[in-house]
């Protein structure tokens, strides 16, 4: 226990140091690199909080995908030249005091627990058996709060539409301007050939195991997206243009199947997004498989950015 506590103290110190270095970094590129590291460290904190599902999501999306997105943006903006301007001492002092007060208030609220801890955990576990799932987090995501999960997928698509709509007129149906680092016989090319088969197997495993253990569509889909981007960045495969039929089918298949099964629930189980008794698990697995494909496509395209007129080399 003491060794664990010692590890936790070190972990928290490390997270705070890296967090501070994001703020203090001299240029945005440095800050983006620190942010990717920060995401991975945070995933370890989530493991220590016994939230493995969240840890996997944080590592994949919070660290990996956001890190890649920010690195790309920082590299692009670097060309525009950003000299780091700091606010005046007065503003910084006021902001410091305000932030310290907010932090102290939040710490007070979280550190002083209520006498009776409010929780829905017993109810979740009580009814989990009837859904055929073994992972309570998947139960909440696909049974109790299925509407949240469905709308979240719609948010991903809306964000993608927003990003695409920022493209200049002539670039519509073009290809995203992702940077290529193609170098024959380079390490990246080697990794891009070596890792995808392993990554695809891990992604399928994640998606399948999600019903009864930590894992699921988000995590599996993000791993697929990462493998896809790796192959694209290494220049082995070109990124599809945003008008591609296959890409668009991939993007919408998850939400469409989710919505179809949810609507069928009105007839078969008397409620929107309800599953008929006895068929809950196969239906949820079907939704998860479709969502994995959509999640592989959407964050990948989000990280790649808006399409550009001419293809950059």
């Amino acid at each position: 226990m003491t060794i664990l506590l010692f590890t936790d103290v070190c972990l928290v110190l490390l997270v705070l140091t890296i967090g501070a270095s994001i703020v203090r970094a001299r240029d945005a590129f440095e800050a983006a690199i620190a942010f990717a590291i920060y995401g991975l460290l945070l995933a370890i904190v989530w493991v220590r909080l016994a939230a493995i599902d969240v840890a996997l999501t944080e590592a994949a999306i919070g660290g990996g995908m956001t890190g890649m997105l920010l690195l790309g943006a920082a590299a692009r903006l670097r060309l525009a030249g950003d000299d780091h301007i700091r606010a005046s001492l007065r503003v910084r002092l006021a902001a410091g005091i305000l932030s310290a007060l907010v932090a102290a208030g939040v710490a007070g609220a979280v550190l002083l627990p209520p006498e009776v801890i409010p929780t829905l955990a017993p109810k979740v576990m009580e009814n989990l058996a009837s859904s055929g799932l073994g992972n309570p987090v998947a139960g909440v995501l696909f049974v109790y709060r299925a509407l949240d999960t469905l709308l979240e997928k719609v948010v991903l698509l809306l964000a993608l539409l927003g990003v695409w709509s920022l493209a200049p007129d002539g670039a519509w149906n073009g290809r995203p301007a992702i940077r290529l680092y193609a170098r024959l016989n380079g390490t990246l090319t080697f990794l891009a050939q070596l890792l995808p088969p392993i990554g695809i197997v891990v992604a399928i495993y994640m998606c399948w195991i999600g019903a009864k253990a930590p894992g699921g569509a988000f995590q599996g889909g993000t791993i697929l997206a990462a493998m896809w981007l790796l192959v694209i960045v290494a220049g082995l495969e070109s990124i599809p243009s945003i008008g591609g039929t296959w890409l668009r089918i991939m993007l919408v298949i998850g939400p469409v199947i989710f919505l179809a099964i949810g609507t069928a629930g009105i007839v078969l189980a008397n409620a929107f997004l309800a599953y008929p008794a006895g068929y809950a698990k196969p239906l949820i697995v079907a939704i998860e498989v479709a969502l994995t494909l959509s999640i592989a496509a959407a964050p990948g395209m989000l990280a790649a950015g808006p399409p550009q007129q001419e293809q950059r080399q």
């Binding site: 920010l70 301007i85 700091r86 910084r92 932090a103 929780t119 017993p122 949240d148 920022l166």
Partner: protein
């Protein structure tokens, strides 16, 4: 379980750090980073709340955990949208800052957050 107050303070400090950077840094891309920092502090506080039930027979409350997963994905979507807007801003205006025009006088603006 002893470490819970430790993680709670960590979450609060991350929120403070993110808020500070959000206010003081005039560059949009770093404001996005700061906002993500602030957000991760909020998620972590939620994780600590989920872990409180460890006193009972459960390891953690699955409801806050599932909500955090949704939140991380939505935060990513919002970040991507914001980054695309900033890139477009730079393309259009050639300038990546929201500080006031008088750059010799960095006194003027802390950021329009």
């Amino acid at each position: 379980m002893n470490a819970l107050p430790l993680f709670a303070s960590c979450a609060a400090m991350l929120m403070g750090l993110g808020l500070y950077a959000l206010i003081t840094d005039p560059e949009p891309l770093r404001k996005i980073l700061a906002f993500n920092l602030l957000g991760s502090g909020v998620f972590l506080a939620f994780g600590v709340i989920s872990r409180r039930v460890a006193a009972t027979e459960f390891e953690g409350d699955p409801v806050p955990q599932a909500m955090t997963i949704t939140a991380i994905v939505v935060a990513f979507a919002a970040t991507a949208m914001a980054v695309a807007l900033v890139s477009r801003l730079v393309e259009a205006g050639g300038r990546a800052t929201v500080a006031s025009e008088a750059s010799e006088e960095p006194d003027a603006d802390g950021g329009a957050s």
